[in-house]
């Protein structure tokens, strides 16, 4: 997607790209170096220095972006993160930073935003409940107390990349509709159980909330009035995930096309057979459309005053989620047996892209959501 970048953005991207290639090449991703806490912290701080976590925060709160369209800048970085299957809570931290900037109390902003922007701490959006789907308030319920504080009960599934220093933005249900609050991962009553996952490049956990106390200042979106905020968070998350997916798809597809040129069978490179050539051409079309729709979503989400962001993001997530799984399946078919071996990188892409397709609503969920957004 670099062709969609301006000269300024390209410079930023080049630095970020070199950083990823040097500090966490695919070999290191595969070896799981990112599971090491000190590596993760250092990687996050270096990313932060490159502006990875400031793009959804206004300059008045210490943030800022190169182009003025933070979502587009972030999507371009996400694309390169996807190419390299980069670890860490990039999407989550940016979503939470955006939410805090938009709706956090002054105390909360002061306490948390600088740490997120500088990479001292990370954040994750605890949105998914068992079974998944995009109804982000499910799974956890909040009851209010007389002093304006809340108590959380319930469980969230598949929460990404939790460290002890991680801030969890918990979206939950109340009698008056959804609300949100920011909770430290090591708060009393929070228990984090690591999960195994299809994806081998990131960590996921189940998080249980057993009477977790939330002071009024930790509320990020009051009960029943935070619908637009949640919609905004979802738009950011879906846009960045779509961009990460497109990066991973692009990388996987490039190596697959190269394989189709090199691999000989029946006295010809297999890519000379129309059977494969047409599959690859169709996949290439879907990939180009994925790039186009991901950039369109990022532009829209990052344009102040443009109210089409949630729709654009849902369209990108719906399209790219299906195109992504189609793509990894086609690449698998082109690789044949070699793609079934652990040593080959293809399965890392297969796993990551399939996982991303299911996060924050799959294609079917977002299509229904689009109908609802349109008032149908």
């Amino acid at each position: 997607m670099d062709t969609d970048a301006s000269a300024d953005q390209r410079e930023l991207l080049d630095v970020s790209r070199r950083f990823m290639e040097n500090s966490c090449p695919l070999r290191a991703v595969r070896d799981g170096v990112w599971r090491d806490g000190s590596f993760a912290a250092s990687y996050r701080r270096q990313g932060a220095e490159l502006g990875w976590f400031s793009m959804f925060v206004p300059e008045s709160l210490g943030g800022g972006s190169i182009s003025g369209n933070g979502a587009l800048d972030a999507a371009l970085i996400a694309y390169h993160r996807g190419r390299g299957l980069q670890p860490g809570s990039f999407v989550g931290t940016n979503v939470v930073a955006a939410a805090l900037a938009a709706a956090g109390s002054d105390e909360l902003r002061a306490a948390v935003l600088p740490a997120l922007i500088s990479g001292e701490a990370s954040a994750s959006w605890a949105a998914t409940s068992s079974g998944g789907g995009g109804r982000v308030e499910n799974g956890v319920h909040a009851t209010s107390r007389a002093d304006g504080s809340f108590e959380l009960h319930g469980k969230k599934a598949a929460v990404q990349d939790i460290d002890p220093s991680t801030w969890l933005l918990v979206t939950c249900g109340t009698a008056d509709g959804p609300m949100q609050s920011l909770v430290p991962a090591d708060a009393a009553g929070v228990s984090v159980t690591p999960l195994a996952s299809l994806d081998l490049t990131r960590r996921f956990a189940e998080v249980a909330f057993d009477g977790v106390h939330v002071p009024a200042t930790a509320v990020v979106g009051e009960p029943g009035t935070c619908g637009a905020l949640i919609e905004r968070q979802r738009a950011i998350a879906c846009t960045l995930i779509a961009a990460e997916m497109v990066g991973a798809m692009d990388q996987d597809f490039e190596t697959t096309v190269q394989y189709a040129k090199d691999r000989i069978a029946f006295g010809r490179p297999i890519g000379s057979f129309q059977g494969l050539k047409h599959q690859l051409a169709d996949t290439s079309l879907a990939l180009e459309m994925s790039k186009a729709i991901a950039v369109a979503a990022a532009r829209t989400v990052g344009t102040d005053g443009d109210e089409h962001g949630p729709q654009a993001a849902s369209m990108a997530k719906a399209f790219v989620s299906e195109a992504g799984i189609d793509l990894v399946q086609t690449c698998f078919q082109v690789y044949g047996g070699i793609g079934y071996t652990w040593e080959h990188d293809q399965h890392l892409f297969l796993r990551r892209i399939t996982m991303d397709a299911g996060l924050f609503g799959d294609g079917a969920w977002h299509r229904e959501h689009l109908c609802q957004l349109a008032g149908l």
């Binding site: 096309v257 047409h278 690859l280 169709d282 186009a292 950039v295």
Partner: protein, 418 residues
Amino acid sequence: MTDTQMDVDQFRAEARAWITSNLERRPAGADAEARGVRTDEEIVAARALQRRLFDAGFAGITYPAEYGGRGLTAAHERAFREESADFVMPDFGAVGGVTVGPIGRSLLEHGSPEFLQWHIPRILSGETIWCQFYSEPEAGSDLAGIRTRATRDGDQWLLNGSKIWSTGAFHANWAMCLARTDWDAPKHRGLTWFAVPTNAPGLTIRPITQINGTAEFCEEFLDEVVVTDADIIGEVNHGWSVTQTMLVYERGAGESGVSLMEPRELAPDLVELARRGGRTDDPAIRQAIARAHVADYAQFHLGARIAARLRSASTPDPAVAAYSKLARGVYTPLRARAAIEIGGSDALTWPEGDDAGQRPAIDYLNGRIVSIAAGSNEMQRNGIGERVLGLPREPSFDSSIPFNEVLRKSRGWNGRVG
């Protein structure tokens, strides 16, 4: 100041003055149809109006002045179009676009000065309409597989063969006809273009009824049709380079099908269809509507992205335009099919004579045109595979042997090579 440097604003003022005092305003809500057939009466009216434009100097604004055009730039042309947007303009239907688009441009590039002096003013004044005698029953996707033959007969040529898919040939006065003049050369190297008057003895033109019941195209039979050296466009046996010019302008025209506005409203036509059948609550229908809308949106942005890529590249690769064509070829039939499913029995049956009611059915029947015409989906996939992705070539069995031999060999095809 010469005409070609004439200031666009000045030209615009001149055009506006002439237009407002000479043309009728278009009735509100009457959109000009971009495609399709016109009646004989409409063609007569269009000719008369075209003549008035020509006489006033507003026909062929970008055509050379020496052939009756105005010799101005695309910017002038655009200014004229903007100024005339609300007025009744000459409308020949699809055949009009073919005449001044791919045909006119190819003639200008490859015709002799004498040829152009005779033909171009007649085109610009609306006196002659042209069509293409190009595709053949046996040569569709395989554009160079032409079998219509032109044989020398003294200082004349005799044309024999059949043509098909000629847009609006029943309205045309002349045709640009591709024929094989050397059967011993490889397929691309023995072709020649001729100008043929449509009233030539031995030429039969017959409209083709399409599956939607209309007739936009014709088929032709050429039986010893006589033409002369003066009718040759380009050089004998070098017709393929004329074809290349023509295809560039055809593909350009093809792109116009893409919508110009970002589609933000949830597929309004499909929503309306669902509403009519009371099916907006059906989850499967909702999925189908949203799926079509997402595809519309992705296609729009694909088009914008490709246009930007073509503009910005130092060496633009026209092969990437195949993406837009393939996208339309893949998604158009899917969308038409979705409409049929969304409408249910309301899309499959409709009151006799209800034009709006039969729209989904007509779209469904027409849905595959774009998957087939002007380069089928399969051709686009080959193009993307080989020229964009750089995949190894398909084996080609007909590009370097005499065309005669291609025909003979193809009949005995057994697939054995090595």
